[in-house]
Symmetry: C3
Subunit: 348 residues, 3 copies
């Protein structure tokens, strides 16, 4: 993991951190507190790691002021060490820059608009009327459908599909295998068969969004499916048609949001969560992994529903009782009444 070479002081300055200790020490790569070697820059963001901090072989550590006394090497002091670390990692390990231009095997329609600083990879296909912004990157085998737009600095990884008439904002990323703009799941009953409802809306993805590997974001039925700025979707997330995901909301792997639901800003959704259709989730809601959300949530806060795993024989006994939970409650009620009556009679 070789990176670029910085002095601790130059890096601290760039990150807006105070540099305590040998300001001239060189850092060349990021590393863990325990696994670092010479030139390694680690971070410490919690008391739980103080022992590792005290013994770190790293050349410098990003840490909070409170942890500074325990740091045996140069400290870059920050209120938010993890954020400073993220930025340091980006500085020490910049993505290799890609030559602008189209690979000779890229198929670009004559009436597509490609910024000369964009990079179009091998076997990529860009259909008519599409536009690709400055510095954007369309990797091997990616597909950009008719009339779609990819914003400046956006990155479509290999084998991604951006269907017709969709928009990806500046600096947004589609990871490998992601599909944006596939048809929403809309069918009208016709006796026992189902008639397809044409999905005529698009998908509008804001700026600085990430859409994970093999994730799917469906186009709207009539209006657009909207992913607002700064949203982060993990791998295999599914966003159905007409959903709106509010800005800076993060959704972990394999979670799904059914059609026409609106998710607020700055929500945090765990993995394997299912959110039903046609509901609203307020801003600032956190949902634990594996939760089923079947009703609107109107208050910020933390919500959960999964049953905890237990040893199978116990689980089997308890799960069977659950099937009669309401009956048991009614028997508890009846018993309370009987006992109250007996007690009353005793008093009389």
């Amino acid at each position: 993991l070789a990176g670029t070479d910085w002095s601790a002081t130059a890096l601290a300055q760039r990150l807006g951190c105070e540099c305590v200790g040998d300001a001239h020490v060189r850092v060349t790569h990021v590393a863990t507190l325990a696994g670092a070697g010479p030139g390694g820059l680690a971070f410490c963001a919690s008391d739980a790691y103080r022992e590792q901090l005290a013994a770190t072989p790293a050349s410098a550590v990003i840490c909070r002021a409170a942890d500074r006394p325990y740091c045996p090497v140069t400290a870059l002091v920050s209120d938010n060490p993890y954020l400073a670390y993220a930025r340091a990692a980006g500085l020490l390990h910049p993505e290799p820059s890609l030559a602008a231009g189209r690979h000779e095997t890229a198929l670009v329609a004559a009436d597509a608009t490609i910024d000369p600083t964009a990079s179009i990879g091998p076997y990529a296909v860009v259909e008519g009327g599409a536009s690709i912004g400055a510095g954007a990157r369309i990797d091997a085998g990616a597909f950009v459908g008719r009339g779609s737009h990819v914003g400046a600095g956006a990155h479509l990884h290999p084998r991604t599909v951006l269907a017709v008439g969709c928009r990806i904002g500046a600096s947004s990323v589609l990871h490998a295998g992601a599909v944006v703009g596939s048809d929403g799941f809309g069918f009208a009953r016709d006796g026992e068969r189902w008639e397809k409802v044409p999905q005529l809306g698009g998908v509008v993805v804001g700026e600085d969004v990430e859409i994970g590997a093999n994730a799917t974001v469906d186009r709207g039925a009539l209006e657009d499916t909207v992913i607002e700025d700064g949203v982060k979707l993990d791998d295999q997330v599914h966003i159905a048609h007409n959903v709106r995901v509010g800005a800076h909301t993060v959704i972990a792997g394999q979670s799904g949001i059914a059609g026409s639901t609106t998710l607020g800003r700055c929500c945090q959704v765990g993995g394997h969560v299912a959110i039903t259709g046609h509901i609203r989730i307020a801003d600032g809601v956190a949902i634990y992994g594996m939760t089923a959300v079947t009703n609107s949530i109107t208050q910020a806060g933390q919500y959960a529903s999964p049953m905890p795993a237990q040893e199978v024989s116990g689980w089997r006994r308890n799960a069977v009782r659950f099937l009669k939970l309401d009956d048991h409650y009614r028997r508890l009620l009846a018993l309370e009444k009987t006992v109250r009556d007996m007690h009353q009679r005793d008093e009389d």
Copy 2:
């Protein structure tokens, strides 16, 4: 959203609706009741939208006879407005037709059979012995394996994979990234390691089926995995080997069916449902989202199992109690007996 231009009366006739009001008004596109403009055709299928209906700026509305009096513009009266709307949307917004023929970069094996009216897109690969029916469409980068068949009018979207020896029926659709015919998950124990069981069956997909983006349908171990006519699978659905999905069954996003299970006709399965292997689900079963189905279901009806989301502190308290639910039930039983005995003694 510009479409084709129809008079209300011509459209009504085509849809089998009664046209009430100005029969000459022109409609050019579908729209929502609230968001329509001139030329817009909306629909109203429920009392809940009567206020929006009364105020709609649409040029015409498809609605039930009961809603007709509230409709301020030309009404196309239908018993099933959503179905009529679906068809109207198809008429007003036909898919752009694609020129037949093979893109010069499509790789088609010499012994594959391609109907001259089929369209094979750029960088598509069609292996030997495969056959592609009339009017079928194989999009950019799609893959059709050795000996597979794609029926007339079927559509393989970009980057789909149809493995060797599988069949897609007429008018069926594989959305982007879908994989049909990958190996089933079959392994035989050999001490601590697992030996692969060759997956020698295929996949047979009927007519008028949709398979969603990044969905997976595995090939059978010995016999075929079968998806019957009219089935609709949403994005990221997973169908394991040897499963049979009955005709006109719909399965919402991210649901999975484990191996050798048979799902009946006309079932409706919500999103994020897990159905275990080697069971049978009757015809006409509806399963709510996030339900775990661990036993056969022999009766049509509606079934569910998810726990509802609640605020985390309450959830934590309740979930802990669940782990002792059977104990608590036994204590309730014991208490009932004690109280019965006390009551009896009082009576004596």
Copy 3:
């Protein structure tokens, strides 16, 4: 399903089975007990199939010694008939061998190292510094990123993506659409927005591993995500960054493991399971489908959590009671105390 032609005795010898009955009978393909015809080789591994065994039209059957008396045809006797069957299927139906070499449309970087016995399919892309081992197979449209390694005899199915700097061990398989080495889901808070944490680790996949269709295995944040030898991941499984999956562990479809969790050796994980991040699962743990694992599991054994599906009206009543389960327990406690006191008073 035509295969190669063997005498029962030659096949038995190869499989290490005893051959009982006509040793010269020819078998040409595998089949089910009930569906076999002449030349068919079936297997019987359980008492439940004795009736089918007794009536089988197969030419030979692999079975346990205990089932041999019920076998009307040539028996290949094995302690582990399913394993012997798996091997027989591989012998009778060998994968068609592929010519070594690169398809003329394969794009291989000048400084990639391709073993001359490897096969690189049409429109595959192999970037600089990558290496492809002896007999490996890179199918149509697969992508191998900069510096990655594909071991001897490994197989990347169509449209798979192996991102930069990852390793696939010998004889391992990536099924169609699988993505290995996409970025882990790591972001640092910066006020209301999220800053990307560069994902600088890789993915190391051992030998004899299978990764299912459209599955995703993310690269580590700093160190590698590790999939040990003999692991089998079904379709649409998701493995997050920094996870370690122990050798010979199998994980069924659509299950996900969140970041930095360690799963032991020889575990069996059902479908649609969610395992939270930063925990440890011991060796030899079996987890039922649809289970939520939110804490470490330190003992081998079987674990589960899903609620069983029930008819909707009952589910609704019970689910509502669940929301007050702790209250009801406290009322049960209180009632027990009241009754105890009353009983005591009666005694006095």
